[in-house]
Symmetry: C2
Subunit: 350 residues, 2 copies
DNA sequence: CCCCCTTGAGAAAACCTTTTCCCAAATCGC
DNA sequence: GCGATTTGGGAAAAGGTTTTCTCAAGGGGG
């Protein structure tokens, strides 16, 4: 009934070592180690006594010593150059999730776009004997400013351009775009425009191509995608271009936007012109950046890249690589997911 | 002239150990260690020869072994519960920056709001012998779901509620609010309203009080702050309340908003009512969330909490604590900074 | 010429845990 | 009752580095 003899006596200064546990239990360190790890042979009574002693003393093995011996540190490095973090954070959360469940800790390494910083981080990670590295970025079509080939630990690339022959995970942008356009088609939209970001982004072309493909498969007219910036302002401008011409009959009845900010600009501009969303025009975004998607009026239907799943998969892939499982090199594309809100109207049946 | 004998021969598998360097240089490991660390006494020639050998072999000391011996791992843990990360990321970047310059790596620990997860992370960190812990959150007035008292490593709290007697860093919200209101006053605004977030946030009261104080100091009328949500929608609603009444003369000539999203809603609502910003009404935000502040029309003047500086200071504070410097416990408030864009009009002189 | 001090460098302990090998006692088979 | 096997547990090496201690050789002073 005593409330004092509880498990974890908040120890003062130096951590309890195995040697102390062994001494307290009256056995050798070897026996103590084996008792706690379920190895070796000894009386059940002995094993239990040692365990109890360890528990009482609040013993926790020193990971540093374990790692040194096992040549496995249960630690990985996460490299990113996305300081702003709209994409990085869900990704990092996913990675962290997947790993912490397996007792692996994550070194966060922000390399900006600085090669020197990148080199510094990679060396520090290697010195600290990470079991592997996950490289993450803000763009699928750019390399991190760091050379990760010929390292002596496995590397997984997530949402950034992988080295040739490495394993990489990215979102399936073409699939995501299909999802968007097909959703609009299902809702009866037929004249679908596409407004996207700068030409310099590979995903802009990937999504635009998927957009064309779907429309062609359905024998529908394909408008030339309008490429500009990833900004609200560009969404505004694009509306002026699309809805400026006189003949109302030539207007699109839906706009597939390259990201949510563009979509936000499009929706605002349409409202300012008195064009109703979704009644007159359906609008769909990309990224499902919730804080934007939920603030548009009406709330924005958008394509989610499932970045936290991507992160989780990257974590698991790295883990299996670390465990010695050979992984098929190359790029694996993970499916996107449609998040339906109100900016496209409701499905006929719904 | 040979291009092959370069410094870092991309080593194949097992890292080079000090023993190998010593053997190659024909000395003992002790001497090799001392040569590389600038310790001990030996011929300059010997020292240089060992160093050269190490360089040639691409030797890098094993941090695990060093940490084990020195009882200092050059590693700290960063605890956060901000998955969304608008606040966390700049903060984390600041921490990481400050630390990496000092050769310290950062474990990223996302604890959500889950006590079990928090406990898990803290134990893992301690097992890995972190030198210290930085606790970070998304709110100044909430504890992380984790008990960090009585740890055997120093803890610094940044942008989260510290334990009593601990060292904590937060933004100076009162000062930030003063900055905002005084800016409006300098521009000649006299009827300043305040629209802010939910009552349950301590910062809402802090900022509101500073707002009142400044106005009273200037002998100006103090409106009752309008408290609601941290959302655009609430900004809209607040405008309806403030500008709904008939008499135009009772309208505010400026609105100090509790965050940038509210400000965005306010600006949009004002435009819809045909009220010009900044000509008729000045609007100022809080947080300086660039992607929002730059997308409002006109771009939003806002108060920046300098979170990356906060993170950097937290990192440095932890470092000095780790180094044995006693730090004054208690909460240190770091100044905010005004970022002037166009939503308040230009200063008379500018 | 002897002793003491300095110089240069190595041996070994320490950090903490795991694992292999080994040994004494107990048990078993015959 | 004797040899062979099993059982319970310990000694020691290993992992890579740092640091203290020790020691031999050489130089200078008396």
């Amino acid at each position: 009934m005593s409330a004092d003899a509880e498990p974890a006596p908040v120890s003062a200064k130096p951590p309890v070592t195995l040697r102390e546990v062994a001494a307290a239990a009256g056995v050798s360190v070897a026996t103590a180690s084996k008792a706690l790890n379920g190895q070796g042979r000894m009386t059940a009574e002995t094993r239990e006594r040692i365990r109890e002693t360890a528990r009482l003393l609040g013993f926790r093995p020193n990971s540093l010593a374990q790692s040194l011996l096992r040549k496995r540190s249960f630690t990985v490095g996460l490299l990113t150059n996305d300081t702003y973090g709209r994409f990085s954070l869900p990704l990092m959360a996913g990675v962290s999730d997947a790993l912490v469940d397996n007792g692996v800790s994550v070194f966060l390494c922000n390399v900006e776009d600085d090669t020197r910083l990148g080199q510094l981080h990679v060396e520090a990670m290697l010195d600290k004997r990470v079991d592997g590295i996950i490289a993450t970025g803000k763009r699928i079509d750019r390399h991190l400013p760091v050379d990760l080939s010929n390292l002596r630990v496995p590397v997984v690339y997530a949402f950034t351009q992988p080295d040739p022959g490495a394993v990489g995970l990215v979102s399936d942008d073409a699939g995501g775009a299909r999802l968007a356009v097909e959703h609009l088609l299902r809702l009866g939209r037929r004249r679908i425009a596409h407004v996207s970001g700068p030409e310099s982004f590979a995903v802009v072309h990937t999504r635009a191509q998927a957009y064309r493909d779907v429309l062609e498969e359905h024998g529908l007219p394909v408008g030339e995608p309008l490429l500009g910036q990833w900004s609200e302002a560009w969404g505004h401008d694009a509306v002026a271009k699309l809805f400026g011409k006189a003949g109302r009959e030539g207007w699109p009845d839906a706009v597939f936007c390259g990201n949510d900010q563009i979509a936000r600009g499009v929706i605002d501009a349409l409202r300012e012109r008195g064009i109703r969303v979704p009644d007159d025009v359906g609008v769909i975004g990309f990224d499902n950046w919730e804080i934007v998607a939920e603030a548009t009026r009406p709330p924005l239907t958008s394509v989610d890249m499932n970045l936290s799943t991507l992160g989780r998969e990257a974590g698991l892939a790295l883990l299996s690589l670390v465990g010695g499982q050979p992984a098929a090199p190359g790029i694996r594309k993970l499916p996107c997911r449609l998040v339906v809100r109100q900016s496209c109207g409701r499905p006929p049946g719904g």
